[in-house]
Symmetry: C7
Subunit: 252 residues, 7 copies
C-alpha cells in the first residue's frame, strides 16, 4: 500500500530509495519467454523460448527473438517485443555509425553501454516509461575475444560466463551455475543451453517452433560467424540431447 504514492512515475524515488516503475518493468520480463547465453572458449551460444508459436506463423520473420546488431554482436531478448525492436534499431544505427566513422566494428561493451545509457534515460526523465525488455548479448572483438552480457530495464549491465533472463530465470541460473565448467567448448555450451531450456520451459514438450538457437564463432579465416539454427537443425539438436519433441495436436 505504501508503495502506491511512488510507483507511477520513473521520476520519483520511494522513501526506501526504490524506483517502482523499473521494478514493474522487470515484472513484465519475468513473464516473458526465457532467453539465455553461454560463453565458451571458442564462441557463444544464445537460446530463446518463443511464446507465440503457431503453425501459421512464419518462422523466419518478425517474431524472432534473436537479433543481429552488427557483424560481431547479436542479442536475445525477453520482454516486450516492440520495445526490443526499437532498441535494436537504435543499436544497429550506433554500430553502423561507428563502423563508418572508425572503419572497424564497434567494441562489444561499448555497444552494450550505449544501449544502456539510452535505457537509463528512460528511468530518469518525465513523460517516459522504462523499456520493458532485457537482453542477453553475445559478441566478439579483438580486444577481449568472445563476450557475454546481460542488461535490464534499469540500464544495468554486466559481463557473464553464462546467464539467463525472462521466466524461470532463477531456476535456469541454478542449472547454469552447477553445470558450467570453465573451459567449456561451444559444442558443450549448446548442449548446456538445450538442457537448461528443456528443464525450465513451461510447455510440456519443446519443438523447433518454440525455440531459437544462434551461435557466434570464428571461421577458419578468423572472421566472426553468426549462425542461426534452422528448424531442422534445432530438431536435430533436441533429438541429440534426448529432449521430448512430440508435438501435441491441441497446441496452438
Amino acid at each position: 500500500m505504501g508503495s502506491r504514492r511512488y510507483d507511477s512515475r520513473t521520476t520519483i524515488f520511494s522513501p526506501e530509495g526504490r524506483l517502482y516503475q523499473v521494478e514493474y518493468a522487470m515484472e513484465a520480463i519475468s513473464h516473458a519467454g526465457t532467453a539465455l547465453g553461454v560463453l565458451a572458449t571458442d564462441g557463444v551460444v544464445l537460446a530463446a523460448e518463443k511464446r507465440t508459436a503457431s503453425k501459421l506463423l512464419e518462422q523466419s520473420v518478425g517474431a524472432e527473438k534473436v537479433y543481429l546488431l552488427s557483424d560481431t554482436t547479436c542479442t536475445a531478448v525477453a520482454g516486450l517485443t516492440s520495445d526490443a525492436n526499437t532498441l535494436v534499431t537504435y543499436a544497429r544505427q550506433q554500430a553502423a555509425r561507428y563502423r563508418t566513422t572508425y572503419g572497424e566494428s564497434m567494441p562489444v561493451e561499448q555497444l552494450v553501454q550505449r544501449m544502456c545509457d539510452l535505457k537509463q534515460g528512460y528511468t530518469q526523465f518525465g513523460g517516459l516509461r522504462p523499456f520493458g525488455v532485457s537482453f542477453v548479448y553475445a559478441g566478439y572483438d579483438t580486444h577481449r575475444g568472445f563476450q557475454l552480457y546481460t542488461s535490464d530495464p534499469s540500464g544495468n549491465y554486466a559481463g557473464w560466463r553464462a546467464n539467463c533472463i525472462g521466466a524461470n530465470s532463477t531456476n535456469a541460473q541454478s542449472i547454469l551455475k552447477s553445470d558450467y565448467k570453465d573451459e567449456i567448448t561451444l559444442s558443450e555450451a549448446v548442449s548446456l543451453a538445450v538442457k537448461v531450456l528443456s528443464k525450465t520451459m513451461d510447455s510440456a514438450t519443446i519443438t523447433s517452433e518454440k525455440i531459437e538457437f544462434a551461435t557466434l564463432s570464428l571461421d577458419k579465416s578468423g572472421r566472426v560467424r553468426f549462425h542461426s539454427y534452422s528448424p531442422e537443425e534445432i530438431e536435430g539438436l533436441l533429438k541429440k540431447e534426448g529432449v521430448n519433441t512430440q508435438q501435441p495436436e491441441e497446441e496452438k
Copy 2:
C-alpha cells in the same frame, strides 16, 4: 479495481508489468470489422469487413479498408479509421522516400517495421495514446517473395501464412488453422478468405457492400500486380462460394 491507478497513461507499467492503455487500444480493435490475409504460393489475398455500409455510401472512396502503401505492399485495417489514415500516410511517405533514395521498392518487412517503430513510440512517450488500429500487410520483394504480416497497437509485428484481426478473429484464426494448406494457390486462398468471412461476420447476410477483397500477385512480366475487387467481382465470388448475399430491405 487495482488496475485503475495504472491504466490512464502509456508511460506507466502496472505492478504486474502490463500497459493497460495498449490493452484498451486492442479492445477498440476487437469491436472493429474483421480483416484477414492468406499467403499463397503465387500471391496474397487480403479481405476486410466494412461496418459502415449504406446504399448512399460511395464504395470507391474514403471508407475503404484496404490501402496501397507502395507499388509492392498493401494493407487491410481493423480499428479507428482516422488513426489508420495517418499511419498509411506515414508509410506512403517512407516508401516513396526509400524509392527516391535507393531507386527500388522498400523491402516489405522494413516498411512494416518502420510503421511499428512509430507505433511503439506512442506507447512509451507522455501526452500520447497508442494508435487504435491493427494491420494485415501483404507484400512482395525479390528477397523473400510474397509475405504476410500483422501488427497491433503495441508495435509488435510478425510474419504469418494466414492470420486475422478485428472482431471474431479468434474464431477466424481457428478456421484458418484447420483449413490452411502449405501449398495453397491464390485462388484457393481467396476461397478460404470468403469462407472465413462468411462464417465470422456478424451480419446475417454478406453483400458486396460490406466486403473488400484485394490480391497481390505477379503478372506475366514478373511485375507486382495489385487488384482490388469491384462490387461485381465480389458478388461473383460470393455466389461462386455459395454465400447467402440476399440483401434485406431494412438494412442501412
Copy 3:
C-alpha cells in the same frame, strides 16, 4: 460513472477502447444547425441551417456556413464556427500551396484527407481537444468528377451520394435514403435538399435568413462554377417547393 476516469483527455482510451472526448465533440455537433449535401449527375448541392438568425445580422459576412475552400471544392459545416474557421483557413492554404506547386487544383479527396489528418492529430496528442466540427464537402476533379464527402471530429471521412450532419441528421438521412435516386439531376437534388431541411429544422417556419444554399456545377466551357444562393433565390426556391416561409414577428 465508469466513464469518468477516461473522458477528460484525448490521449487515453477507456477500458472499452473508446475515446470519450471525441464522442463529446460529436455531441457538440449534434446540437448544431443541420448541414447536408446531395450528389447529382451534373453537380452537387450543399445546404445548411443557420441558427443565429437576426434581422440585424449581415447575411453575407462572417456567419455563413458554406465556405469555398478552393476553386473546385466547397464545404458546409456543423458545429463550432470558430473551429471551422481555423480548419477552413488551413484547407485554403493547403489548396493554394498545391496549386502553386503543381499548377492545377488539388484533388478533392486529397484536400479532405489533409484536413482529416490534422483533425486526427488533435485526438491523439496531449494538451489539445478535438475540433468540434463536422463537414460536408462538395468538389469536382477531372479524375473522379463530382464528389461528396463528410468528415467528423475523429478525422474519419467517407464519400457519399447524399448525407447529412448536425442536429436531426438521423431523421434527415432517412429521408435521403428513401428519396435519393441514382440518376438524380442537380435540380432534383436541390428540391430534395429543400425537402429534407423543411422536414428536419426545429423552427416552425423556414426563411431565407435561416438557410444557405450553394451548388457546384460545370459551366458551358467546362469550368467549375460555385453558386451561392441569394436570399431572393432561396425565397424563390422555398416558394417553389411549397415551404411555409411566413416569418413570425416575435422571431429574433
Copy 4:
C-alpha cells in the same frame, strides 16, 4: 455540479459538448462595460461605457475602450482590458504587415478573422486560457464599404447592422432591433447609440467621463476618417439627446 470535472481546461469538452472555460470567459464580459456599434449608410458609430471613471483619470490615455487598428478599422472592447491590449497590438502588427506587403489596407473581415483565429487557438491548446474580451469592429474597404462585426472569446465572429456586447447587452439588442432602420444615416446612428447607452448603463447619470464615442466615415476626398469624440462633443451630444448628465458629487 456535473460541470465541475470539465470546466477547468479549454482542452476538454463536457459530455454535452460544451467548453466551459469559453463560457466563463464570456461571463467575464457580461460584467464589463457595454460597447456597441451601429452601421449607417454613410459610416459607422462605436460607443462604449467606461467603468473606471474618476476625475483624476487622464481621459485621453490608457483607459480608452475604442482603439484604432489600422487606417480603416477601429474597435470597441468589453472585457479584460489587458487582454484587449494584447490582441490590439497583434491586430495592428497584422494590419501594418499587410500594408507593407500589399501596399493597401487590409480588408476588414480579413483582419477580424486573423484576430479570431488567434482567439480560437487559445480555446484549443493546453496551458492557455481564452481571451476574456469581446470586440465590436467598425471598418471600411472598397470591396464591401462600411462594415460592422463582433467577435467573442470563442473566436466566433459575424457581420451586423447593429449590435452590442458587455453588460446589459440583451437589453441593448432589443432596443437596437426595434429602432434600427435600414437606411439609417450616421447622424441617426449616433442618436440611436446615445439612446441605447442611456437606457442600459447602470449609472444613474451619464457623463462624458463615462462614455467614449467614435465614428468612421468618408471625408470629401473619399478617404476614411476616424473621429474620436472629445469630452465636450460627448457632452454636447448627450444634451442634444436629452440625457441626464448631472454628475453627482459622491461619484468617484
Copy 5:
C-alpha cells in the same frame, strides 16, 4: 470555498469570469509599501514608502523603490521587489533598443504598454504566475508632455493626474481626489505627496530612511531632468511640511 477549484492557475477562469491568481497577486501588493505619483504642470513627482528600513541599510543601493527606466521615464513600485527588478531590466532593454533603432527616446505610453503586454502574458500562459508588482510611471515626451501612469499585475494600465498603489492606497486616493487641483505646480505636487504619505503610512513617525522622493522636470535647456531626493533633502522636505520625523530608538 467555491473559489478553490479555480484559484491555483492563471490559465482558468472561475465560473464568474474571475482570474483568482491575478487577484491574489494584487493582494500581495496591498500589503506592500505605498507608492504614489502626482502630475503637475511643470513636472511629475513620485514618492514611495520603504518598509525595510534599518540604520545598517545602504540607502543608495539595491533596496530603492524608484527606478530610472530611460532618460525620460522613471517608476515607483509596490510589491515584490525581485519581480519589479526583472520587469525594470526588461523595460530598460526595451527603451535602449528603441533609442538605438530610432535615435530618440521611446514614447512613455509605448514603454508602459510594452511592460504591460509582458505582464498580461503571465496571466494567460500555463506554468507561470503573474508578476506580483504594481507600478507608478512618470515620464515625458514631446508629443504629450508630462505623463503619469499606473499598471497592475493583470497588465492593465491607465493615465492619471494623481494616483497611489500599495497599502492604504484607497485612503491615499481619497486625499488626492479632494486636494488635487488642475493647475498644480510641481512644488505643490511635492507638498501634496508628503501630505498623503504622512497620513497613510503605518509608522508612527516618518523618517528620510523610510521614504523615497523623485521628480521629473525640464531644465532650462528643455532637457528632461530626473532628481532623486537625498536623505537630507527629504528631511528638509518633511520639516518644511511639518511632519513628525523624530525617530524612535527601538525602530529597526
Copy 6:
C-alpha cells in the same frame, strides 16, 4: 492548513499574496551555518560558519563557504551548497564575459542583480524550485568603492553596512546594529565579525575548522586584494579576540 493548497509550486500565489515555496526555501537557509559581512572604510570582511567540520575534511577544497566571483567580488553563502555552486558558476561566467566584452571588471551591483534575476526566474516559472541559498557579497568598484550586499531565494537584494544570513541571523543582526560604527576600519570590522560569530554559533567552542574568514581590501598599488584566512590566521584571530577555541575530543 489553509496554506496547503498553495505551497507546492512557485507558480501560484496564496490568497494572501504569499509565495510559500519561496518561504520554505528561506526556512532551509535558517537552518544553515551563519554567514555575515561587515563593510569598513578600507575594506570588507566576510565570515562564515562551517557545519560539516571533521578532522578528515580537507579544509582548502570543496566545502568552503566563501567564493571568489571575480577579481573584485566575493561571496559567503548560507543554504544548500550545491545550489550555491551552480549560482557561483553562473556568476563567474557572467563576470568573465563582462571583462572580455568591456575590458574591465563588472560593477558589483550589476553582478549581484544578474544573479538575482536568475533567482527570481526560479520563483516564477513552472517545473522549477527556488534556489535554496542566500548570499552575502563583498565587492569593490571605482564608482561606489567597497560595497556589501545580501540576496535571498526570492531574488531580492539590498546594500548593507553590515548584515548576517543563516541560522541565528536575527541574533547576529542585533549585535551588528548595536556595535557597528560609521567610520569602522577593516581591522575593527574583523573583530566585530569574530564577536558576532562567537556569540551566535551553536557549537560550544569555535575552532579554525568551523570558520572561514576573508577580507577584500586595496593593496598599495590600489588593486583589489582578496585574502582568505588560513587556519593558523583564524586561530590567531580567535585567540586575539579571546574566543574559547579548545576543541573537545568527542567532536566529529
Copy 7:
C-alpha cells in the same frame, strides 16, 4: 505523514526547507555496497564492495565499481549502477574535451564540480529525479597533488583525507577517523582500507570476487599511474591483512 505532500518531486521544498526526493535518493545509496577512499602522501587508494558476486560473473567487465574518468582521475561508486554509468560517460566526455581544448588534464576539482553541477540540476528541474548515486573520487594534478573527494545526489561535494559512502558508512567513518594518521603512506592506506572493509561488509567472509581495489600513484617518471588490483592481488592483500577469505559453498 506530513512529508507526504512534499516528497514526490524535486521541484518543491517541504515547509521545513527539505528536499525529500534528494533524501530518498540518499536512502538508495545507504543500501548499496560500501565504497571508500584514503588519501596518502604518495597516492590514493579506492576500495569498493561488490554486491552482485557470482562465480558466473565476468570480473573484468560491466559490473565494476571503480571507473577511470581521465588519465588522472578515477572514482568508486555506491548506488544505482546505471545512473553511475551515465554520469561516468558524461565525466569522460568533459575530461576529454578539456584535454582537447587546453592540451592538459582537467584539474580534479573542476571535473568533480562539473559532475556536481549536472547532479544539482536534477534536483531543481521538473520531470527529473536526482541521480541515485554517490562517488568517491581520487585524482592528481600538479596544482594540488593527490586529492580525494566525495559527492552525493544533491550535488554537494567536499575534499577529504579519508571518507566512505554506501552501506555502513557511518561505522566505516569511525574507523577511518580513529585510525587515519596525517603522514600515511599509500601502503598503509591500502591496509587501512582493507581493515575498514573487513569490519563493515555484511558478508561473513570477504573474497576477491566481492571487492575491488585501485590505487593512484606516480611512477618514477612522475606520471600518474592507475592500478586496478587483479583478483590474485586482492587475494594476496586480504591474506596479508589476515582477513578471513574462505568462500562458503552455498554463496551465490
